[in-house]
Symmetry: C2
Subunit: 470 residues, 2 copies
């Protein structure tokens, strides 16, 4: 399956024309069809071609969402939920045209249940907005994919990020959802209890479904107490393997590390240049511990012992917020640090995830591949999960460079799959990874198709994403 096949979509012109007329009447100024708005709601964050929706509706309530879906269902026109547009695999492209539902105005925090450590939010709430809002309650929402993504988008791609090693991914932190389904009905997938054995886990089915099974209208999230003390630090290792082995032992010992990020030498150099750090250019771990004064001291000491055992260090840690912030800002800015390496070049950010015992080998082989093919492509990894990212720089004006990058991504995925890993730890499938999904799961994808066909018989919910039905 070539990417061209994936992104090709049939348009239902008559249906689209009808829907445009009806939505204009129903939503007035809240329905927009101008080029710049449509462009903003297509995919722009990678080399994937942007595919504009035919119109964008700014919803304010779940009734609005139901109205849009009902109109689109009647006319068999695609509907694509839009949060902040920070997904990386073409998830919001309108391959067959249709209507983009913009959730930026559905950004209310509906409930905070401090005693239960949960909250209910609308899909347009962003991660940073939520944590800003929560600050005074002493609680926080730990999932941090880097981008200030919307909670709806994060749920839909099963996002995770730097804190996942301790707090899990969106799959672990969404307690319940409401969603408008393809027939326009709104359902709630679960109650607010922390666990349940009541029937099929539709919460987890919708988390990661990339808007293809239902359009989320609210999300109930688990929260955590803001740690009394946060300690952070950094330490280098002679080799990647030493760093990875230190990670494995840290996890095995049950040290409850909150973040443990592997940064390869190329990426360290890029961070030094961009974020004005002066780290030694070698494989490096960025770590963070959450707890109280005693527990972070204990964790840091235990971790320091592990580091020493694998020839790394010295491990220096601090509870000083400014020093920590500088470090993690550098970590979060890796994308920009990479882009700054060759100004004017595009950077393709891709991810795979392998069992952690295979992380060192997978990263080392990938580094060798990068060198062999003369690519510029630093690596950072959520090492505690076995998940790593490669940001490949290329000139997106040159088809031969695009082909070279695509070939590299294919090899990267084959390598991860051969190690019993997955083609994506946290970015999702979208349009970009459909061939790898089939390579990864084979017949299992048929059953995904069966579910999709049953729950969305006219294929109107974000069609063409994850897999093709036709």
């Amino acid at each position: 399956m070539s990417l061209e096949d994936v992104v090709a979509g049939k348009r239902n012109e008559a249906g689209i024309a009808a829907v445009l007329g009806i939505l204009k009447q129903q939503f007035g100024e809240r329905f927009q069809t101008g080029d710049s708005i449509r462009e903003q709601h297509a995919h722009t964050t990678t080399y994937l071609p942007a595919q504009w929706p035919d119109g964008v509706v700014f919803v304010e309530t779940s009734d609005d969402v139901q109205s849009v879906v009902k109109v689109c269902a009647e006319h068999k026109v695609p509907v694509i939920a839009f949060g902040t547009g920070s997904s990386l695999e073409g998830q919001i492209n309108a391959a067959s045209g249709g209507i983009s539902i913009d959730f930026s105005r559905m950004n209310r925090i509906l409930e905070v249940n401090a005693e239960d450590l949960d909250c209910v939010v609308e899909p347009g709430v962003t991660r940073e907005q939520l944590n800003e809002y929560l600050r005074d309650t002493g609680l926080f929402f730990p999932i941090d994919p880097g981008a200030n993504a919307s909670i709806g988008g994060m749920a839909s791609t099963r996002a995770s990020g730097t804190n996942a090693v301790r707090y899990g991914t969106m799959k672990d932190n969404v307690l319940s959802l409401t969603a408008v389904m393809a027939d326009g009905r709104e359902i709630r997938t679960a109650r607010r209890a922390r666990k349940s054995s009541a029937g099929y886990d539709l919460t987890r089915l919708l988390v990661g479904a990339e808007g293809t099974l239902g359009i989320l209208t609210s999300i109930t999230l688990r929260l955590q107490g803001i740690p009394e003390v946060i300690a952070g630090g950094v330490c280098g290792f002679p080799t990647l393997k030493d760093a990875a082995d230190a990670v494995i032992m840290t996890i095995q010992l049950g040290i409850p590390v909150a973040r443990i990020e592997l940064v390869n030498a190329t990426q360290v150099a890029a961070c030094n240049a961009y974020s004005k750090l002066n780290l030694k250019v070698q494989p490096t771990l960025f770590v963070e511990f959450h707890g109280n004064e005693e527990s972070v001291a204990l964790q840091s000491r235990q971790f320091g012992e592990v580091v020493a055992e694998f020839g790394g260090g010295p491990f220096e840690w601090t509870v000083d917020p400014e020093e920590r912030a500088k470090l993690w800002k550098a970590r979060h800015n890796v994308y920009w640090a990479v882009k700054a390496m060759i100004p004017g070049y595009e950077a393709l950010a891709t991810d795979v995830c392998v069992p952690i015992s295979k992380l060192a080998e997978c990263v080392a082989l990938t580094e060798a591949d990068i060198e062999e093919h003369g690519l510029t492509a630093p690596i950072v990894g959520h090492a505690g999960d076995g998940n790593f990212h490669v940001s490949i720089l290329f000139d997106d004006k040159k088809p031969e460079e695009i082909a070279k990058v695509e070939a590299f991504v294919a090899r990267l995925n084959e390598r991860a799959l051969a190690m019993d890993g997955t083609c994506t730890g946290e970015h999702g499938i979208g349009q970009g990874k459909q061939a790898f999904l089939v390579a990864e799961l084979g017949d299992t994808v048929d059953f995904m198709r069966q579910i999709k066909a049953a729950m969305d018989p006219h294929n109107i919910l974000n069609p063409g994403k994850i897999f093709r039905l036709e």
Copy 2:
């Protein structure tokens, strides 16, 4: 929907006769149709009427499972997976007859990947067998529902138990599954990576599906390092509310308690009598901490401060294995302690789960209900999850007592649902809770039916469980 409607099933006599002949030929002595074997493979652990399968096949490989499913699919005959038979809501009853697949001989531990903290097991492996096997590796599998259930059964009912507050439920601890689907194909739902965003989460869809979407043939589980030190203790409180408030604060402070069990006064009295404890008869918490010497001391001290704040205690804790074992044995024996209260009576064990802020109120109202209706029904709860169990004693020879128990269970569920709780935290729906599932999730159940109808078009996989299709 009355329970009579739920348990009524249509039999496909011609298909069943054909399948019996074919399986006898294919499996010889490994296929049994004698009464005592059939009786053992029907539901016997509650007052639900036992419904025998027509035959039992003792599978040894996933090829065997595929053979059975293919034969049954061709003749549209039900197949019901059987682990140890310890489910509580009629999950293994053969309401429409058919074939029970007994997994007791598919009990191999296929892989232990110590560095990755995971293992791959066949469905017939029991929880105790697995932990026995793992002991020398320094790892353990934490989910502990009390019964020595099979891993396949635990996955299928989304089981949890006393350790879930720290280690999560089966949903959190199953990394991947292989399963034979209704058309006889075997699929694998995910790779062994610790996280993935690759398509629909079929792992979580099959976990908790009670064998209605696929027959599990292997399960990849997350493991944990055996804690260096385990500390345990017990403390009483003046009121249920004080005990529950102590639990809420413990969770909010992020004290990583491994077990925190609420035992009501009636249950304390029963445990004293049965397990020869001499606890003061009052609402009591049983707790356990996992870590090293320093960290369990720290946790125990912090917890002791919380207990004191709510008028409980004194909190006494110990790392002595024998003292701890006695305590937890008493906790695990609550069912027998309850049964011993009125010899000859049946005990119905039921569970609900509410947001933890509602736990004290829900338990207190339930205690009042028990007293008002003259029932004998002690309560224990996985307090950190808001999940609690009521074991109701009754004379199963007296229809009016059964009716009284059923009415009580209905009120208990209504109460939990009114508090935004769920009708089952860990036992599942089976036959016993179908009416409550609809009350809990409404239209959401329609989408469960759509999924079932798409993935199992002839309704052969454990038909009549969770919901009725016809």
